[in-house]
């Protein structure tokens, strides 16, 4: 095995066999699932709480049209407001004025407990509907109910992308889903680049403080040691992503079909084979098309494929910067200032991400996704949208060219920095070091 190989093996083994690595690798997906299930779970618990209102309807119009929901229960009472208020069977009293049709603000809601926004909104929309129906009645239209039913429209858009090559239109994800996926993936990338980049830095600072470095570099060239360390830690990152991808894939292909109702899955299959008809569908066409897209192997491969390529490019670029910083300082405190400079592009990239996600096709988004220091994050926001492949590959080519240069430059600083103890260097000095023989 070459010397670089021996260094890589050591770095990799040391980290992958750590308990903390195994725990985070397995725990993060669990945490993720937990976080996505928790709100739904809380909602379910919450909904079992029903609020009962005593309704004093002085108009006689609204009460017949009030409908009980899972969380609201209405009881018509003839009592006076005073006695209704004292009756502990009710959580509150809803008083509707006699003149409600002409004066819609004649509604009072008295609560025993704290006011509840969801309940208020539901009551308001129900009363609004009742009042509107009543007002429409004044026009004396025949078949009013049928007319309203016919007028009501539920718009869903099924999006396709026009394929210029063979003329067939391929299905595409709804924009908001692409947006969510893009931002999600970009965020994962951001976390990885920062966490693993800093791991390279702290590990170099540790070696330097430890003075083990002096022994290592008497056998390996400093440049080789730096590259070995970056590659070793990069492999750890890839291992972690690979495990997560496997877990996600298992979740999508094994868990999802088992959890989803059978008719949804049949329609998803129909959608994928092009036989789906939104008009006759049992399920929401929007959901079916989203599900179909998400479970498409090609789509997932595309996302993870590019994610891996941008992860590698971004990782080498940033970890070499972090390596240069780590070599130049004696402790993490001293690194903070230089680190801020290195992290600036990250912050910019995250700031651009939302903007680019809402208009991925604009020329502004295109140019931003070409700039090497921010391209891994900005381009990953665009990838879930169907953007031309040449743009992605150009961006990748620029990123890789920059990282090659940065690795070379960082190695020059590293070689000098690891033997410098004491005073904290400035960026100017770092550049001067790179010129030493």
């Amino acid at each position: 095995m070459s010397k670089i190989g021996i260094v890589i093996a050591r770095e990799y083994k040391e980290r992958v066999s750590k308990k903390s690595f195994i725990i985070t690798t397995l725990l993060v997906p669990l945490l993720f699932i937990g976080l996505s299930i928790l709100p739904a779970l809380l909602m379910a618990i919450h909904e079992s709480d029903t609020t009962t209102y005593a309704v004093i309807d002085r108009s006689g119009i609204v009460m017949p049209q009030l409908e009980d929901t899972s969380s609201l229960h209405f009881v018509a009472v003839e009592d006076s407001l005073q006695s209704a208020k004292q009756n502990s069977d009710y959580d509150g009293v809803l008083v509707i004025g006699a003149d409600i049709v002409s004066n819609p603000s004649e509604v009072t809601l008295l609560n025993h407990s704290a006011a509840n926004m969801d309940g208020e909104m539901a009551i308001r929309s129900q009363i609004k509907k009742a009042v509107e129906t009543e007002r429409l009645k004044a026009y004396n239209l025949e078949n009013l109910k049928e007319i309203i039913k016919e007028v009501e429209a539920d718009v869903t858009i099924t999006t396709y992308r026009i394929d210029e090559k063979d003329g067939t239109d391929s299905s595409a994800l709804p924009s908001e889903i692409s947006f969510a996926i893009g931002l999600g993936v970009a965020f994962i990338l951001y976390m990885f680049l920062i966490i693993y980049g800093q791991m390279v830095m702290t590990s170099i600072i540790e070696e330097k403080n430890n003075r083990v470095l002096e022994i290592v570099v008497s056998s390996v060239k400093p440049e080789q040691l730096m590259m070995g360390k970056i590659c070793g830690i990069g492999l750890v990152a890839i291992t972690q992503v690979a495990i997560w991808v496997l877990l996600i894939a298992a979740g999508i292909f094994l868990l999802l079909p088992a959890l989803m109702p059978a008719d949804v899955m049949t329609e998803v299959a129909a959608y994928n084979s092009g036989q789906f008809d939104a008009a006759t569908a049992i399920n929401d066409p929007y959901m079916v098309s989203t599900m179909a897209q998400l479970t498409q192997v090609g789509f997932l491969l595309k996302i993870f494929g590019y994610l891996t390529l941008f992860l590698i490019g971004g990782f080498f670029l940033y970890s070499s910067i972090f390596a240069a910083i780590g070599s130049a300082v004696d402790n993490i405190q001293d690194a903070s200032q230089l680190q801020t400079v290195a992290m600036l592009p990250f912050i910019l990239a995250i700031a651009f991400a939302t903007m680019v996600g809402s208009d991925p096709g604009s020329s502004m988004s295109m140019w931003l996704s070409m700039i090497p220091f921010i391209s891994p994050i900005v381009m990953m926001v665009r990838v879930p949208f169907d953007i031309p492949a040449w743009q992605i590959w150009t961006s990748l080519a620029l990123l890789y060219a920059t990282f090659f240069f940065m690795v070379w430059f960082a190695a020059k600083i590293y070689r000098v920095g690891i033997f410098m103890y004491g005073k904290k260097p400035t960026i100017k000095e770092l550049i001067k070091w790179a010129r030493y023989k």
């Binding site: 095995m1 021996i6 040391e14 070696e207 003075r211 022994i215 290592v216 008497s218 060239k221 033997f419």
Partner: protein, 311 residues
């Protein structure tokens, strides 16, 4: 003379200071060679250049007759002054890692390590983490790592610091045994008594320059010319009055009861016989011998002389 290392006109500059200024020296094969000098003189930079860690700005380093290259590091073993190990790694695993970096195969490294661990009676440490070891224990492991691949050239920078006298002696004997097997040892230290004990030749580096090179015995002879140690049982003034015209300088080395021991440096041309005769007439002499300077004295006087000439 067979030389393992020829260093010619090596200079190395860093921003604002010169670490090495035109340094030349040859290191003969199979010897213990002392590399001496005050702190910050440039010794570590020179050692790093020999280890191919940094490159000189100018000058050349020849190893075994050819220009030193990265491949030669497999033939060099280096124990730096500031040394550490990976704290979280197990001792055996770590020793294997370093052995393999020096080009040993996994199998060879295992066999050799077991031998050394047996010899130092530290086999039970194999699966311990380095952070569990004491400083002295870690130093033993570092020593093994340095010599394991049986290099032709060994460089020890302050090898005895942190060792108790027993272990320091053990280490000294190991180093001499390695020399006897044919290895060349570069020995950098501030401990001058150990230089007298083990070094054949030395180079003294001061302010980035080589200010003294040569054989230890010859240097001491040369610097000890005209110097005598003399002990008298009378008050020392009596002796000094008698030899006053002959001596350049004197100092009292020690006083023990009636006996005073002095170091005298006589004027050039004054013979030993003349001095002894004069001394005998002036006082009761109980001891008279040539006074070879210790390496400590050589070090101090050479460095001070150089510094006063190059202010």
């Amino acid at each position: 003379m067979d030389k393992i290392l020829e260093i010619e006109n090596v200079s190395k500059h860093y921003a604002g200071h010169t670490a090495l200024d035109n340094v030349s020296l040859d290191i003969p094969r199979g010897q213990v060679y002392g590399l001496l000098g005050p702190n910050g003189a440039g010794k570590t930079t020179l050692i790093r250049i020999i280890n191919h860690i940094t490159a000189p700005d100018s000058g050349s380093v020849m190893f075994n007759g050819h220009r030193l290259s990265q491949n030669d590091v497999a033939n060099i073993g280096y124990l730096p002054e500031e040394r550490g190990l990976y704290k979280k790694m197990k001792v055996g695993e770590q020793a294997l890692f370093f052995a393999r970096l020096k080009g040993l195969s996994n199998r060879d490294a295992q066999i050799k390590l077991r031998q050394w661990f047996d010899r130092f009676e530290i086999t039970s440490w194999w699966n311990k983490k380095v952070e569990e070891l004491s400083k002295g224990m870690a130093q033993k492991v570092q020593f093994i790592i340095t010599v394991l691949h049986e290099p032709e050239l060994l460089i020890f920078d302050e090898p005895f610091s942190g060792f108790d006298p027993i272990n320091a002696n053990l280490l000294k004997n190991e180093i001499l045994a390695l020399r006897d097997k044919g290895a060349t040892v570069i020995f950098s230290t501030h401990n001058m008594s150990s230089v007298e004990a083990v070094c054949d030749n030395i180079t003294l580096i001061n302010k980035s320059r080589n200010i003294l090179t040569g054989n230890v015995a010859e240097i001491r002879q040369q610097m000890g010319a005209n110097r005598y140690r003399i002990a008298v049982t009378n008050p020392p003034q009596q002796l000094l009055q008698g030899v006053d015209a002959m001596i350049e300088e004197h100092r009292i080395e020690k006083t023990d009861g009636d006996t005073t021991t002095l170091i005298l440096r006589v004027n050039p041309g004054v013979t030993r016989r003349e001095l002894l005769r004069a001394a005998n007439e002036a006082a009761d002499v109980t001891l008279f011998s040539p006074a070879l300077p210790s390496m400590d004295e050589v070090f101090i006087s050479t460095v001070e002389k150089f510094n006063s000439e190059h202010k």
